[in-house]
């Protein structure tokens, strides 16, 4: 197997707050290979966005410096100077966010914003950068690209703005694209367009993609591998197909059972996960999901379960994984 492109080890992120330290990410590790699409799924507050911000060194000010390591191209991104990190960000690793309106500058034209990184990172002159910008807009499906360069973000719809963001992100041909809830603010028919676009670009450019989302359906359609995150840690990781077909962590299984499926046959009652996520005011000393879990055993309440391999490439952080005979109905419903 090839060397990983990006290798995250024991990443830990803590925040200062008035009520004490918040342990947002508690020692997660994963590898990303060239051209691979990895999904990170979880509910709000599980630390999935913070993970990506930490990797790019753009954590908000209230955060302590991240612990662990993020190895990329032989260097640890967490130890780079600001100046060195700026060369990586946008060039080798690019990111798109949920809300394209707040990530675009409202008082600069689209053209100005698109050419900025081309001129900065690729040292293009003005004219070449403009031509490149036109071809980028064209590639992300914006017609009349030449005229559109003179437009401002407010003259674009939400879906178009996200296309512009994607054009900016791929402009320097990054090796990794991180997309944080890229379609959450969009309508479902527009979401379908944007996901198609992302899939096409990822395969054309041989980019690796980290897709961060709360939507299991989006991950199912896009990602080769999926990591499920809960309370700052990965609870289950594996190839998307096997993780969805045989979810072994009670949280993953619970999530799949609690979402209504469009293709459900007949009316089944949803099975919610009882309780709520506890706050992350202290570093967990036991399984964070145990209070909500019907499979929890004594050990779950004493120790943090490590990720263990239970099938080739399929890891679960649980002392008492869901037995295969108990698999949720949603997962065993055969494809229609």
């Amino acid at each position: 197997m090839s060397e990983p492109l990006l290798s995250v080890t024991d990443l830990e992120v803590r925040f200062k707050s008035r009520r004490g330290t918040i342990h947002a990410v508690n020692g997660i590790s994963f590898d990303l290979r060239a051209g691979e699409t990895l999904g990170i799924v979880g509910e709000s507050g599980c630390g999935k966005s913070v993970t990506s911000l930490a990797m790019l060194g753009i954590l908000p000010r209230q955060a302590y410096p991240a612990d662990g390591s993020v190895m990329f191209g032989g260097r640890d991104l967490l130890r780079l100077k600001d100046q060195e990190m700026r060369e990586v960000r946008g060039k080798d690793i690019a990111m798109i966010f949920q809300d394209p309106m707040t990530s675009l500058n409202p008082i600069l034209t689209i053209g100005r914003q698109l050419t900025e990184s081309l001129r900065r990172h690729l040292k293009m002159d003005k004219e070449t950068a403009r031509e490149e910008a036109v071809s980028l807009l064209d590639r992300v499906g914006i017609s009349d690209a030449g005229d559109r360069l003179r437009s401002y973000p407010h003259q674009f719809s939400g879906g178009m703005r996200q296309r512009v963001m994607i054009a900016m992100a791929i402009s320097c041909r990054p090796k990794i694209l991180i997309a944080d809830e890229p379609t959450t603010a969009l309508d479902v028919t527009i979401q379908a367009q944007i996901l198609e676009l992302l899939k096409r670009l990822v395969s054309e450019e041989q980019m690796a993609l980290i897709l961060i989302t709360h939507d299991l359906g989006v991950v199912a359609g896009v990602c080769d591998r999926t990591n499920v995150m809960y309370a700052g840690g990965f609870v289950e990781t594996g190839a998307t197909e096997s993780l969805f077909a045989t979810p072994r962590h009670p949280y993953t299984a619970g999530l799949l059972d609690s979402v209504p499926r469009l293709d459900a046959s007949g009316k089944q009652r949803l099975v919610p996960i009882p309780g709520t996520v506890k706050t992350l005011m202290e570093k967990p000393t036991s399984c964070a999901f145990a209070p909500r879990c019907m499979y929890a055993v004594d050990e779950s309440r004493r120790e943090v379960p490590p990720l263990r391999e239970i099938a080739p490439g399929h890891h679960v952080a649980c002392f008492n994984p869901v037995p295969e005979s108990d698999l949720p109905q949603g997962a065993i419903t055969e494809a229609r």
Binding site: E43, V188, Q193, D215, G217, G221, P260, L262, L270
Partner: protein, 343 residues
């Protein structure tokens, strides 16, 4: 079939656009709802779906007369409320209530939960003594902790706040609840708790729901029938099973095919219609069928010039498409560049 509780006929709601600094001129209208007719039967859940800006929220709010209709007729439980003055409308309001999307902005942060839930009871003239007992009961019914009455909204999570809003709308024993995106602000594991609660309450209190939402999977789960809206008009109404298995309107087909399904096997093998372009503006909607600019089945005749009326297709299914039969029979096929397998 049971009796209709709500009958809406040819409802139009236009919001005027004004311009000019000194004298405001009326320069146009946002045609948020443009000729919607629908019936909600007693005890059923009618789902109303569509993308943002299609007018679904406006329909919900206008049925409760929170917005004034521009024209059309709204009949609730046999009584025409379209032009009732507020004074006569108020006594009827206890029969129709609303649950809002945002559990943060729809609760007064300076009122404790007990007083939030008690307010409608006091306004409608219930005795103080009875009110306390009723509030305790409501708090229990929606699954909030016993001591909730003395606490304030900020002490509760999003899901619990949504329960507070629900307790408030149940206070007056309404017949109809208009729920506008009641679960979209919630995380999936909490969403399921809320959906189950809505279903339980419907059985217990004989409620009729108009469930307005953009998430088709949720709507399909909870609704008996579903109405699909696009740019101020209804495209199709059908029982929820039929809408999924045999959608008649091209827009419904596209919408269904765009919803991601949490199953990689299904996701990677199903046929998908990717619509081109964005929603046109409701200020100046396309002539003819409003969907014709994005429709993969668009024909040279009629679609661009003639507005399709809602007409009956099969049992209980109505559709606003000139060519629904031909599409169902496979005589008209979609333009190939718009349809593809998910790669």
């Amino acid at each position: 079939m049971s009796l209709p509780l709500v009958e809406v006929t040819d409802l139009k709601v236009y919001f005027p656009i004004r311009s000019g600094l000194v004298v405001e001129r009326h320069v146009g209208d946002v045609k948020a709802v443009d000729g919607v007719s629908l019936t909600i039967f007693k005890g059923e859940t009618l789902g109303l779906v569509g993308e943002s800006g299609c007018g679904k929220t406006t329909v919900g709010r206008t049925i409760l007369r929170l917005y004034e209709p521009t024209s059309g007729r709204i009949v609730i439980d046999g009584k025409d409320i379209t032009d009732l003055p507020e004074r006569e409308l108020r006594p009827l309001r206890d029969k129709m209530q609303m649950v809002f999307q945002d559990p943060y902005s729809s609760l007064n942060p300076r009122q404790n939960v007990g007083s939030i839930v008690a307010e409608p009871l006091l306004i409608h003239g219930m005795e103080r003594k009875e009110v306390d007992a009723k509030v305790r009961h409501l708090i229990e019914v929606v699954g909030l902790p016993h001591d909730a009455a003395n606490r304030y909204p900020h002490e509760f999570s999003g899901g619990q706040r949504q329960r507070i809003g629900l307790a408030r709308s149940l206070a007056l024993n309404p017949a109809l609840i208009v729920a506008d995106e009641p679960v979209s602000a919630l995380d999936v594991s909490i969403q399921a708790q809320m959906i189950n609660l809505l279903e339980d309450l419907q059985d217990e209190f004989d409620l009729t729901y108009l469930f307005v939402a953009h998430d088709l999977a949720v709507v399909r789960h909870i609704s008996d029938r579903i109405a699909v809206m696009y740019l101020g008009k209804i495209m199709e109404i059908a029982p929820s099973q039929e809408l999924y298995t045999a959608p008649s309107h091209p827009y419904t087909k596209a919408l269904l095919s765009a919803v991601p399904i949490p199953d990689p096997k299904v996701e990677r093998s199903r046929e998908r219609i990717i619509l081109k372009g964005d929603l046109p503006s409701p200020v100046n909607p396309p002539p003819g069928c409003r969907f014709h600019t994005r429709c993969p089945y668009v024909q040279e005749t009629r679609c661009r010039t003639e507005v399709p009326e809602l007409r009956a297709m099969k049992q209980g299914q109505v559709v606003a498409c000139h060519f629904a039969e031909e599409i169902a029979d496979g005589k008209i096929t979609p333009r190939s560049e718009m349809v593809g397998l998910a790669p």
